[in-house]
Symmetry: C2
Subunit: 321 residues, 2 copies
């Protein structure tokens, strides 16, 4: 959105996340422009690591770059954990938002331990996650110690958001789809579950879990304990719901969310409308309904007008049900 | 491999592919060093496009960069198709290899139409394939015209390889896993099937099909007509075989191949051995057996010694069966 680019001009990402009036204004922009049903806290996956004192920077065009990547047990032992006081600006941002948003709910946001670990071990974004996978397979003890620490940091970050008043939380495991189900269950699931359990201990807000390319992992992700599971465009909502229901226990499967391929937003309105209607149809057939959403983040060059029309179409169509 | 880096030093990728004594020597290197059971023709996915006269270059660290990306029907109409005479050096490479390889079979190689189209439409490697997906959804007629041309080029390239004497062919659809099953069936499958049908018209060599992250697509990829389907590490060989068998017709499902995560090769020998044995166990339980392979290409910084030990372990273990 042009208004976002204009606000962010000259301000580094992590600084923007830690500046309450700026971060709250950015959070409000899509609500004002598109009329979406909820706001999502403007933040970044690596923010709690940065706030905890881990040397890292978000380099435009590259992504997060970690000054001293984590390689062994000593590195893990030296890794600081987040203290609530280090993210006071995030709590202040949420305070400002709660006053502005009125009836519109605010969704909190944090990265899941595996995705954070990949950034720390690789030193930045990685296509193949080879150092991360090498650590988990060669030294499971160090791996689990790392993920325990990251789970505590993530949980602390989400607790701060909950105390400040968010109405739901989303745990983003961006890279989980790079793992086999076997590795996900052994090396990742216990730590993501710890976070959802920790949230449930202090709050009863809805808990959302999401990752890209996680069709094979949906049953296991359900077992982490979320109330909502987001899917990308590779698996339809009806099929995703079936896979979530196939996991134990049979009752109480999470609600499904997502499925619109962000790339389709470049294909012109006819194609977009067709896809939106297909998702509303498929999602409408799922017991317990669905939450309409993209299957991944909005791509930077997307025409914002298309998003406004999608929100209108979803609202009009679902109002007629 | 150091001997590969040494041979390639100062020689651009596409030039190396088009220089028979060099390309044949590179093809032989892993056979000599690791004792693998087959050689794979040293080539590049975009080679037939380059040979047909499409302006492109492989930029180290980036990948293929296309001078004039394809955007509309006029661009597609202007796109040259490959003529067999333009890849004579590839036929010559195969001729040299057949003489050198003796009993070791040689596998030919080409990129599938969707992956080639993505390079042409995006102008280079793409994470989200948004221009490609926009074209397929907004202008299906132009999309299908583009894929028909690319299928003809690929088929011509493989026919040249078959006439020169390759013992099998592999069709690589690197990016197919970015698509939903619905889009794959409508926009990609007919064109990949055309290639396998075209090969079957002139030869009865085994036909291998592979893509990364294609767990959702395996049944459809089978319907393209391959004899072997490669899978990455996200789906086990037994599960992959089940999905291939679930597609119609029930009889004659393809053989499965692959499954070792190339990232695991960085985790030390104990972890590698565990994974290799697991794959041999799972693959050994599949009716019709399996072909041992990595689940994707060897990563550049892999220790070649690990690959040699893997080949030894696979040979020793399977000899005892």
């Amino acid at each position: 959105m042009p208004e976002y680019r204009s606000l962010r001009e000259g301000i580094p990402m992590l600084e923007a996340c830690m500046t309450p009036d700026l971060a709250s204004e950015i959070t409000l922009q899509p609500v004002r422009r598109h009329g979406v049903d909820a706001a999502i806290l403007f933040s970044d996956i690596v923010l709690p690591l940065y706030a905890a004192g881990i040397g890292l920077d978000i380099v435009p065009g590259t992504g997060p770059v970690v000054t001293n990547p984590v390689g062994d047990a000593a590195d893990v032992a030296a890794l600081p954990e987040l203290d609530a006081g280090q993210v006071t600006p995030v709590a202040d941002t949420i305070g400002l938002l709660i006053r502005e948003l009125g009836e519109t709910p605010l969704i909190g946001f944090a990265g899941a331990p595996f995705t954070l670990a990949s950034y720390l071990v690789e030193g930045g974004p990685s296509r193949n996650h080879e150092r991360t996978k090498a650590l988990m397979h060669s030294d499971p003890k160090t791996w689990h110690a790392l993920l325990e620490k990251l789970a505590e940091t993530t949980l602390e970050f989400l607790r701060v958001q909950l105390r400040a008043g968010v109405d739901a939380v989303q745990l983003f495991d961006s890279w989980a789809g790079a793992l086999s189900l076997r590795d996900y269950r052994e090396f990742v699931l216990p730590h993501s579950r710890r976070i959802f359990e920790g949230i449930a201990e202090v709050s009863d807000v809805p808990k959302i879990h999401f990752g890209v390319g996680t069709g094979e992992l949906l049953g296991a992700m359900r077992n982490a304990g979320p109330d909502v599971v987001g899917v990308d465009w590779r698996v339809g909502l009806d099929e995703a719901a079936t896979r979530l229901r196939a996991a134990e226990p049979a009752a109480g499967a999470p609600v499904v969310q997502g499925n619109l391929d962000p790339a389709v937003l470049f294909a012109g309105w006819d194609a977009v409308e067709r896809e939106v209607r297909r998702i509303l149809d498929e999602g409408g057939r799922v017991d317990g309904g669905h939450i309409f959403n993209l299957g991944h983040g909005v791509l930077p060059t997307t025409d914002p007008e298309v998003l406004t029309r999608i929100v209108e179409l979803v609202h009009t169509t679902t109002a007629q049900r």
